[in-house]
Amino acid sequence: MMDRVPQEYVFPLDDYIQTGVHWVVDEWRPFFQALRWPIAKVLDVTLDSLVFMPFWGVVAVLLVLGWRLADIRAGITAALSFTVIAFLGLWDEAMISLSILITSVVFCVIVGVPLGILAGRSNMFWAFLRPILDTMQTTPSFVYLVPVVMLFGIGTVPGVIATIIFSMPPIIRLTNLGLRQVPADAIEAGEAFGATEWQTLVRIRMPMAMPSIMAGLNQTLLMALVMSVIISMIGAEGLGLTVLRGIGALDVGLAGIGGLSIVLIAISLDRITQGLGQPRKSAGDQKGFIGRIGRAAQLRRSAA
């Protein structure tokens, strides 16, 4: 026992953390409850509309979405995958998982893109943010669960919060990267024609960073998918819980179809969002938002 530090010299960091977190929980309860609220709302609305639709309605939406955003193959892949899930009898769980994913990604974009823009515009902010992102990305996913449970409790909404935090870094990083990769001559051209800072950002930097931001969205989505399974351990519902229950009960069949459904969702969503990076002949001819995303996708391909 000579190699151990005597008990009275051990630094009681665990006690301090415990006390600190308790203090935060007691004093900041209204703040954390306020944070919960918008997330819970978006989650509810998303889930309600997914459940409100018949299963073939959701399948049809995915088909069209995949087709418009990527190509018809992505649409068919997504439609087939969800049909299989429906016939596996896990439709409700799948819809819960899907709404957790959608909610997480929505908040990741709302928070992550502006952070990425700030990071891309300010070296000081990036120097501050970068070590945080590095730490976040090397932190095992389980570790996120502890503070979340302490601060927000257990259940689906705290699960979504953990998912948002866990899957935020890629979109911040790639927004930052995309903005920094915009060719200097394009920015100079904007300036030479009298663009304001804001006009340069909205009309030149952001559109040209879009391929990179889309790649960030894809990565964020896949990380959210991983986390949406893990959060079943803090009581979040969805396919993760199905798998967890299957493992708990040594029900290999249940765990198997749960796992299969997760894989199918992953493939579908990855195809659709990665499809933004696939070549697409007609994309350039389309007007409006979809066309612009398609255009961005083409650029991403030619940049690669």
């Binding site: 001559d185 100079e188 030479a192 009298g194 304001t196 559109p207």
Partner: protein
């Protein structure tokens, strides 16, 4: 010609401590010494010039001579260290940020070497960039963009993306974009340098053609001496951040300030620069009356060392010409040996475009717009110029001094 843009004593020093570099510049140090001693880079040193409305003013220099920095100082994409840039009587270096933005939106636009088109926008949207940035109405934007595309011959390409276009076409789009906002001044930073020679030549000619219609004031940057000579009304030769010489292409080619400038024109076809007026100026014109004795006329020609004399009545009416050999064959008056003057050159004509008018043993008359004959020149005279003769009585661009003369520091350094 009204003066559009005047630049006075413009300096640009890159680095944290420009004052030190400025001090060394005053002491006459060259950029290499400045960089070694202070770590500052003096890119533009005491540039002064004037540009008249509607002219093409070229700044010619090799890479690293500071020309791209200089042109970016003119619209303050790069902030000059010191100096004045007077546009329409106002020093734009005194402009606030928003005034400068307004100037860029309305008065100065730019064409870039690497086109700098926005790949996510259609050709049409690229062209109307400047207009939409300044918030013009949709109709105005569309009309101006359509017109500008037509001017550069790209109607029908509106809906394409820059990636679909060849280099030459991209630069046409770049030009259309600059023209669409109807600026007073067009800054062109090596616009044709990235293009292959045939396309470059085509675009140069089109630019000149277009310029005859639009009459913009153009500041053109290039490292290509031929291009500079072809396009410019006036050109400045830049070296190590300083102007070596400013003048017309004729000045630069035929009255080079030093061997540095002279070396640029060594390879070029000097006939493309030579004007008939210069040729006429270079040689004495012997004028004789038709009633004069042939022997007197011959003596006058011998004294001047010229082969032909212009036959003119005392009131100034041109009758024809006589040759030295014709005169020795006749004993009478000049009119006996006189020939008709059939070959003529307008005084602003480029001699290189009119070689076919020079016949052996016959002079060509140089005629001013008001039909005065200012000289009789021969193929031999032209050959003398082409062979590298420089103007004997070199006044260094005196007519545009003081702003156009080489900077004193440069003159001292390169006596």
């Amino acid at each position: 010609m009204t003066e559009k843009l005047k630049v006075e004593g413009l300096y640009k020093v890159y680095g944290e401590r420009p004052e030190e570099a400025m001090r060394l510049i005053r002491e006459g140090a060259d950029p290499d010494t400045i960089r070694e001693q202070t770590g500052q880079v003096a890119a533009v040193i005491d540039a002064s010039f004037k540009v008249d409305e509607g002219e093409i003013f070229t700044i010619m220099g090799l890479s690293g001579s500071g020309k791209s920095t200089l042109v970016r100082c003119l619209n303050r994409l790069i902030e000059p260290t010191r100096g004045k840039i007077i546009l329409d009587g106002q020093d734009i270096l005194q402009h606030s940020k928003s005034e400068m933005r307004a100037t860029r939106r309305r008065k100065i636009s730019m064409v870039f070497q690497n086109f700098a088109l926005l790949p996510h926008k259609t050709v049409f949207d690229n062209v109307q960039l400047g207009l939409s940035l300044r918030g013009e109405s949709r109709e105005h934007c569309e009309k101006a963009a359509t017109d500008a595309l037509a001017q550069v011959g790209l109607s029908g390409w509106s809906d394409r993306y820059p990636d679909d276009l060849s280099g030459g076409m991209k630069q046409r789009v770049g030009l259309a974009r600059a023209l669409a906002s109807d600026p007073d001044i067009l800054l062109m930073d090596e616009p044709f340098s990235a293009l292959d020679p045939l396309i470059r030549d085509e675009l140069q000619r089109e630019l000149l053609k277009l310029q005859r219609e639009i009459k913009k004031t153009i500041i053109f940057i290039t490292h290509d001496f031929q291009e500079a000579v072809k396009l410019s009304d006036h050109l400045a030769v830049m070296r190590d951040g300083r102007f070596v010489q400013v003048g017309t292409p004729q000045d630069i080619v035929f009255r080079p300030f030093d061997t540095y400038v002279k070396n640029f024109s060594r390879e070029m076809d000097r006939g493309r620069v030579l004007t008939a007026a210069m040729l006429a100026d270079a040689f004495e014109t012997v004028r004789v009356a038709p009633t004069a004795r042939a022997a007197d006329a011959a003596a006058a020609l011998d004294a001047a060392g010229r082969p032909f004399a212009l036959v003119e009545t005392p009131s100034g009416a041109v009758q024809g010409y006589v040759g030295r050999s014709d005169l020795s064959r006749t004993g009478g008056t000049v009119s006996d040996a006189m020939n008709d003057l059939s070959a003529k050159l307008a005084s602003d004509e480029i001699v290189g475009n009119a070689y076919d008018r020079f016949q052996p043993n016959r002079p060509v008359a140089v005629v001013t717009p008001d039909q005065r004959v200012t000289g009789l020149v021969t193929a031999d005279d032209v050959l003398g110029f082409l062979a590298g003769k420089t103007m004997p009585d070199l006044r260094l661009v005196a007519e545009r001094a003081p702003v156009h003369a080489p900077t004193p520091a440069y003159q001292e350094a390169n006596p």
